[in-house]
């Protein structure tokens, strides 16, 4: 029965995948996250929500399922459009001689008045843009910002924390000093400073537009918490006997740090990672609100939420609902996934 093949341990990744599949909650959350990823890829490729910025409906178009709800704003806009004739100013307007030329040029151009629909599947915003398309396109920015920035912050925090906790002495002193510098500056001030440097400093041409500025800002300001936790874990583990045993068989410092200790502290890192993703998506909202976040010609859940505040006052709740539902589903699934990942990585919980 015991063939030689039997005793070779299975690859750590296949084992992880197998255990994740067995966990129903983990499998479902993985599925949801995968759906989001596919959605983002489609949005990036232009297959989905391409026309998010086109004004396809009347202002604040009702959602289809609330078609007969009175829409005062749209009616008002319509009234403004067709209200009587334009008064004749020919006698007093100094530009009057140009009227004819303009009329000619207008005749040359072909303008098509888009048929604005009264209802949209999940309603429209102030300009009549489709909220559902906005939410889909917004996921692209928000998730990229949240997840990529959180991964970068985790990488920095873990690396520095591991070095500091494992080596102690002067390495720890230097890194603690760096940590203190970062945490002594109020976070929002640090974000402003970095934003200013990245947007108008010598690096401005590199990051002139796009969301990467936001990612870098968040990664460089968000690593401190992770650093602190990982450092503490490494200090605890470095003197454990299994690490000493690894040293006794001749394992190098790097191998002890990242092959032996890292898997044993991965649960802390994963939990912190999921918290960081949530926090960063929220910080992106604040940054966008302050004009330091994503550019004006892009949409994110953050910008949608910022718009929603004013809309809510006049009873247009669908933009808020769309952004919130998209965000809530993703964040819940992502947290559950990291939890399952943590369990799947722990051999004791098989």
């Amino acid at each position: 029965m015991a063939a030689v093949l039997d005793v070779t341990p299975e690859n750590a990744w296949t084992a992880l995948a197998r255990r994740l599949r067995q966990d129903r909650v983990g499998a479902v959350s993985l599925g949801i996250v995968a759906v989001y990823v596919v959605m983002i890829l489609f949005a990036m490729a232009g297959l989905l929500a391409r026309g998010w910025s086109v004004e396809v409906g009347v202002p604040y178009a009702n959602p289809s399922f609330l078609g007969d709800r009175p829409n005062l704003e749209a009616a008002l806009a319509k009234r403004m459009e067709h209200k009587g004739k334009v008064p004749d100013l020919r006698d007093i307007d100094p530009l009057a001689p140009k009227y004819e030329e303009w009329a000619k040029r207008t005749g040359e151009l072909k303008s098509t008045e888009r048929e604005r629909s009264l209802t949209l599947p999940w309603g429209g915003d102030r300009w009549g843009r489709d909220v559902l398309d906005k939410a889909i396109k917004g996921s692209q920015v928000s998730i990229a910002v949240g997840v990529v920035a959180a991964l970068c912050a985790t990488l920095i925090g873990t690396l520095l924390g591991a070095l500091s906790g494992f080596y102690g002495r002067w390495v720890s002193d230097v890194l603690e000093w760096l940590y203190n510098v970062f945490t002594s500056i109020p976070a929002i001030l640090l974000v402003f400073t970095l934003a200013a440097v990245l947007r108008s400093g010598p690096l401005a041409s590199l990051f002139a537009s796009g969301i990467w500025t936001v990612v870098i800002i968040l990664a460089f300001t968000g690593w401190t918490g992770m650093y602190r936790l990982v450092r503490a874990e490494y200090m605890k583990h470095r003197s454990r006997e299994y690490v000493l045993a690894a040293q006794a068989i001749g394992a190098s410092a790097a191998s002890r740090m990242f092959v032996h200790i890292l898997p044993n502290v991965s649960h802390v890192i994963l939990v912190q990672l999921s918290l960081l993703v949530v926090a960063f998506i929220k910080v992106e909202v604040i940054l966008s609100f302050l004009g330091l976040g994503v550019p004006i010609d892009m949409v994110s859940w953050g910008t949608m939420l910022a718009e929603a505040q004013n809309e809510l006052i006049i009873g247009k709740w669908w933009q808020l609902a769309a952004a919130t539902v998209f965000m809530a589903i993703f964040l819940t699934a992502f947290s559950m996934l990291t939890d399952s990942l943590r369990d799947a990585l722990d051999p004791k919980l098989r």
């Binding site: 015991a2 030689v4 005793v7 341990p9 299994y242 006794a248 001749g250 044993n264």
Partner: protein, 558 residues
């Protein structure tokens, strides 16, 4: 006074249900000591803690079970009723004094708390009484100690505080769950004597849980021997020790190494369960040969930072020299804090020495660069005390065993390495299926075998065993000791064997060093040291060895 009948406890997990206690009955008599003895996993702690219902959340007690205390079935008692009983009528002392006291409350507050919970007392009165209690359990300067925090006390003193808390309200029953296992031998003796003395003075009953039959023999009136959730044998201590009926009881009695005999092979549980005849062949000492390891004047100082610029010097090892020859064992014995583990770390350079030499066949390891050291790492290996901590919990056994071979480039291809790992497992008595499993799936003894296999993976010449059996049940100790002897015989290994247990050191060693506060106070052959100990500390250690029923100070209860 308390009678447990037909107790069945199971643990329900997500995937399965494990029956830990399967129909156990025993009775604790008024004013006497009942000992429950068994290996870890035998259900002894679960049985005892069912009385106070201090069980994990997922424990389910079978409805037919009954625990009668003064005519009341405690298993049906309400939460409020149980809280009233806990700490007043029935109290408990646990194994780890360091973790059973709250580190952020003073000793006085913790003793006073239990007094105020169960009686109407002012804070002042409670502290007054707490001082009396600390005095009773033998803590010097009790009044000053009231303001001390647990970490300022030694392990023995912490356990005394736990006992003070337990007896504060004059309980009828004290449950002591391995109260001395985490303590040094000499402290163990003092705590045992304290429990026996307090029991007589307060006329209470004690339910004493232990894995060590030898220890129990000294104070128990009745003994219950448990294994796998059932009672193997129960009866008065005298009958259990003089005429044990059950094979398992006989095995437990025989497997602890004795000071007066040195058989080639220690008897193990399986021998008795299967009825294998025991061999009387004595273990012979190999002739002293050329030394493989020579250490000279090893010294280690630690600097403790006490202020911004102030440091305090702590000498862990002051002047230690010894030789170990091929195929022979040098035993190093001493209590915790004596510096014996530091000696092991210095000898294989896991810690850098402050001074001295540690030579491996003429080369001083302490002078090598880390790169040069690599080649020597292979030749000198270590087995740690705690097999629960020394294996990486996130690595399968196969990967753990193959790693050292990979680091040192042994065994050619990966496939050959796994084949070698399989053979190593076989050699230490584990099946090849173990390769894919993780450390938590094995018992302490099995894990220690895996740790030994890992050390052997690089074919060392010297093996340092740092308390390799101290964390194991007495019954498992014998199997690991037998394995170490077999390996030494077939591979010609040189051992540095470190332990606090004199009986184990005497059995294993060809030369014994007694260590105290970083110094070697006595050295010689085991026979010489045990027959006529010269140093007063050695005599103290010898007196602390559990003597079992025969060595009992007071006459047996009729």
């Amino acid at each position: 006074m308390i009678s447990v009948s037909n107790l069945r406890v199971s643990f329900v997990t997500r995937t399965r249900t494990v029956e830990a206690v399967r129909g156990v009955s025993f009775e604790v008599r008024e004013d006497s000591t009942l000992a429950i003895v068994g290996e870890s996993g035998s259900g002894k702690t679960v049985s005892a803690m069912s009385i106070l219902r201090l069980l994990p959340e997922n424990a389910v007690i079978h409805p037919d079970s009954r625990i009668a205390y003064k005519g009341e079935n405690l298993l049906e008692a309400s939460g409020a009723r149980l809280r009233a009983l806990r700490g007043r009528d029935i109290s408990a002392v646990f194994q780890e004094p360091m973790t059973s006291l709250n580190p952020v409350l003073t000793v006085g507050e913790q003793v006073a708390e239990v007094l105020r919970l169960h009686g109407r007392m002012s804070v002042r009165q409670a502290l007054e009484r707490a001082a009396e209690l600390l005095n009773e359990v033998g803590i010097p300067e009790p009044r000053a100690r009231l303001r001390a925090y647990p970490h300022e006390l030694s392990g023995g003193q912490q356990q005394r505080v736990m006992i003070a808390i337990a007896i504060a309200n004059e309980p009828k029953l004290l449950i002591a769950d391995e109260p001395t296992t985490a303590l040094d031998v000499t402290v163990q003796r003092q705590v045992l004597e304290l429990i026996a003395k307090l029991r007589q003075r307060h006329r209470m009953s004690v339910l004493f849980i232990s894995h060590d039959l030898g220890l129990v023999g000294e104070l128990a009136d009745d003994v219950v021997v448990m294994r796998d959730g059932i009672v193997r044998e129960a009866g008065p201590a005298e009958r259990i020790f003089r005429a044990p009926q059950d094979a398992y009881t006989r095995a437990l009695l025989a497997c602890r190494p004795r000071l007066d005999a040195r058989p080639r092979r220690l008897p193990v549980i399986d021998d008795f369960m299967r009825g294998t005849p025991l061999s009387d062949t004595p273990l012979l000492r190999p002739p002293a040969g050329k030394a493989v390891v020579e250490t000279r004047h090893l010294r280690k100082e630690f600097r403790l930072r006490t202020g911004l610029f102030k440091t305090k010097q702590l000498v862990a090892v002051s002047d230690v020299s010894f030789d170990v020859a091929k195929g022979r064992t040098v035993g190093l014995v001493g209590e915790s804090g004596s510096g014996k583990t530091t000696v092991a770390m210095l000898a294989m350079r896991l810690v850098d020495a402050t001074g001295g030499q540690a030579k491996l066949e003429g080369t001083d390891l302490l002078g090598l660069t880390p790169a040069q050291m690599m080649a020597y790492r292979r030749r000198i290996q270590i087995v740690f005390q705690n097999p629960y901590a020394s294996l990486n919990p996130r690595r399968s056994i196969g990967r753990t065993l193959v790693e050292p071979m990979r680091i040192h480039g042994l065994g050619g291809t990966e496939g050959e390495r796994y084949e070698r790992a399989r053979k190593l497992l076989e050699r230490v008595g584990l099946p090849a299926e173990a390769m894919q499993r993780y450390p938590h799936e094995f018992s302490g003894g099995q894990r220690q075998r895996i740790a030994i296999a890992r050390a052997l993976a690089v074919e060392p010449e010297v093996l340092i065993c740092d308390e390799p059996v101290s964390a194991l049940d007495v019954s498992v100790q014998a199997t690991v000791l037998n394995l170490l002897l077999d390996l030494q015989e077939s591979l010609g290994l040189a051992y540095l064997f470190i332990s606090h247990d004199l009986a184990v050191v005497k059995y294993m060693s060809d030369e014994v060093l007694v260590m105290r506060s970083g110094e070697i106070v006595e050295r010689g052959t085991p026979e010489a040291i045990f027959a006529s100990p010269q140093h007063e500390y050695t005599r103290k250690l010898l007196a602390a060895v559990p003597r079992g029923f025969e060595g009992r100070a007071r006459p047996a209860v009729q």
